[in-house]
């Protein structure tokens, strides 16, 4: 179960402890990076905290979270310049995840069906034309070629 990412708040009174801990963590990270030497797949799954099954079960719980997902474009639905892209994640190709790609978000990246991209997404709530809630939609904030 993914945890809700908490926003970072610097507290001056804990600065020495944080610096010390950060150094330790950094050292551990470097050590782990050297020892474990992560594979290519792990690199593709940019944010392993995300699980489509969880999303399907209750997307509202992920509202506010951001993820970097490497995913393959399976289908694209368009309305004007906005697109709703169905992508499949490498670790679960049997399911599709809907991503809302607003106009201009992709920049110079051309989303094509069958290609894999790195999507920076955030789970948000919105409103329809009548002001009613539209909850738990993954909004693409940035797209990078993989």
């Amino acid at each position: 179960m993914a945890r809700k990412r908490r926003s970072s708040k610097n507290k001056k009174s804990q600065l020495p402890l944080v610096l010390g801990g950060g150094g330790a963590v950094l050292a551990l990270a470097i050590g782990a990076a050297v020892v474990m030497k992560p594979s290519e797949e792990q690199k593709e799954t940019a944010d392993s905290r995300f699980n489509i099954a969880d999303y399907r079960q209750d997307a509202s719980r992920l509202t506010g979270n951001t993820y970097r997902l490497t995913a393959r474009v399976e289908n694209i639905e368009t309305l004007g310049n906005d697109r709703l892209v169905a992508v499949s994640l490498p670790n679960n190709k049997q399911e599709r995840l809907p991503l809302l790609v607003r106009s201009g978000v992709t920049g110079r990246v051309n989303l094509t069906r069958g290609d894999t991209f790195a999507f920076h997404v955030a789970c948000r709530n919105g409103q329809d034309a009548e002001g009613r809630e539209v909850k738990g939609v993954m909004i693409v904030e940035k797209v990078e070629t993989d």
Partner: protein, 663 residues
Amino acid sequence: MKAISYISLLPLVCGTFVLSQASAQGLGAARKGGFSAADVQRQAGSAQQPMMQMNQPQTGQMEHVPNIGKSHVDPNSGETPNPQVLGMEMPLLDPSGDTMSYNGAKFDVGNNAVVRARFEKYLLQNPDDSSEARRYRKKMRSIIKLTQKSARSRREVGSQTLVEIANGLYEMNEYIGDGGQSGALASAMASAIAAQYANRARNRKNEKMQEEIDKLVQKTNILTSRNTNKVQRGNNTVGAKNSGGGAPAVSNTFTIAHNTKKIGTLEAAGIKNAAENVAALELAKINFQSTIVSMLMQRRYNHAMIGAHTYRHIFSDGDTTLKLDSESQAAQMFEGGVGLPPTIGTMATMASNMRRDVDQNMEAVANMLAQNKLGEATNNLIQAVAVGEYMESVQTFPVEGRRRISEYWTLRKQALPALNARDYGRLEEIASKMKALDPDFDDSMLTSYCAGRKAQSDMHLRNAAKALKAGDDATFNAEIMEAGKIWPKNPNIAKGRAELEKIDNQDPVRDEFRTLIGRKEYRTIYNEQDKFEVVAIDPELKEQYKEAITLIGTIDGMLTQLDVAAQQDVVMGPCMAYEMLLERGEQDARYKEDPKYRDALNRYAQGAHEFTQALEKAKRSEAAREYGSALSNYYRAQCLYPRSTMAGEGAKRVTEIILKAKF
């Protein structure tokens, strides 16, 4: 000859009438005991009485006299009146239709109540072969021989042969089967002979009167001669002698006048006697002829033959002409169309031929029975009994033959009431039995007729059944009535009656049907559709009935097809089946009321539980406006069953919402 033979059918209808006529004509009742010439002498005096009646007809009695010479047939009717003999209308049979006309009425010989009753009585009787019957027949044969002998013997009234014949007839009269016919004939003979004796007495009286006349004439002639002589002597004497000669002449003249008057009286009496002789003879002949004709008409042919043969013996003047109007049809019939007047000989020939015909009929009956041709045997026996019931060959017909013909006759008799009652089943049964008894019996027309009528009745019943299903009560009633009119005992009408009872008892069924419709238990109606079919008579319930049957039939058909598809693809098959059932259930809420549908839906939901969970979750999320989850669940469902309509439509719907939303 055949036409003539049918006159013998008269006694079947009017035998009593003929007998009463014979009695009315002074023939008298048969007497018991012997017969002698003295009896004839005693009856001679009484024989003159009818003559007096003839000379002085009683106008008051004319009202009771039959319409002699008149027919019951209206002259303007165009029908030919029946011939008459001695004032009695004779029945004539039309062979083309086996109908006999008599007294203005027509009778079917084969279906006349009287003929039928007589014939049935005959069939039920035992053959009359008792010792008395044998003795009677033996006597009859001997008398017939005597009549032949009498024809050759000296013709004399009161001869020994005639006395033997008459005595023999009186003996035969004692036999109960004779019916008094022999006595009647004997009495007629006695009356005729008595009339002959009376005539003889008058002849002798005339002879004596003639002798007396002759004597008187002789005496008168003498007296006349004397007177003449006296007158001549007086004329020849002169003076006193001449004046006294007139007195004796006056005395003879008176005597001559008396004699002359007496001669005239005697002559008149003689003429009167001669006239009485002629009248008595004619009357005696008429009476005797009447008896012979009566015997013939009562089918007593032996008696008629005896009477005809003895007639010539009793009336030896050679006149055997029947006293018929030469212009009458009866006279023409008896003369046989040869232009000669009918005679006693004609009657004898007729009786003889009838005896022969009856014997031939009985011989034919025996032959037909031997060949199992019961129909022909029955027809021949009817004719034989009708024409010669008292003949020996008819009376001695064996009981076994009577039993077989009685069995066939009973069936034949039952056929007509069955036909009148339009009981064609019974009629066919009778025809079948008759065919079994007589292989020659042609039942084709009968069976064809029955089959046609039965088919007509059944056709109306089929129309009634159609009307019943269409709820057309009026047509149903009319067709049932028509079917019953044609064949009242049609067994299929009972089925129609059962249908009517169903209609009468349909209220509880109708109530139950309405309850089931209210509970939407369509499958119960479907499972018991035979029971609830009758409610279709009600136009209102008919639609509901049809809907229920159609709905469950459609569901069952669909489930069968889905079962086949699900078995062919164990992965997507259940998904497809589930989705289709779900769609139909949402399109028509009645599907959800059917337990079999619900069972199938549950079964396929278990087989495609991931798909169903995804769809359900998608719908719940969509309803909760959790569009992200909803869309991802629709996607999941599409992955499991790409052809899912519900998932596709849901995804499309949610996609549109998301794209139009502002974040």
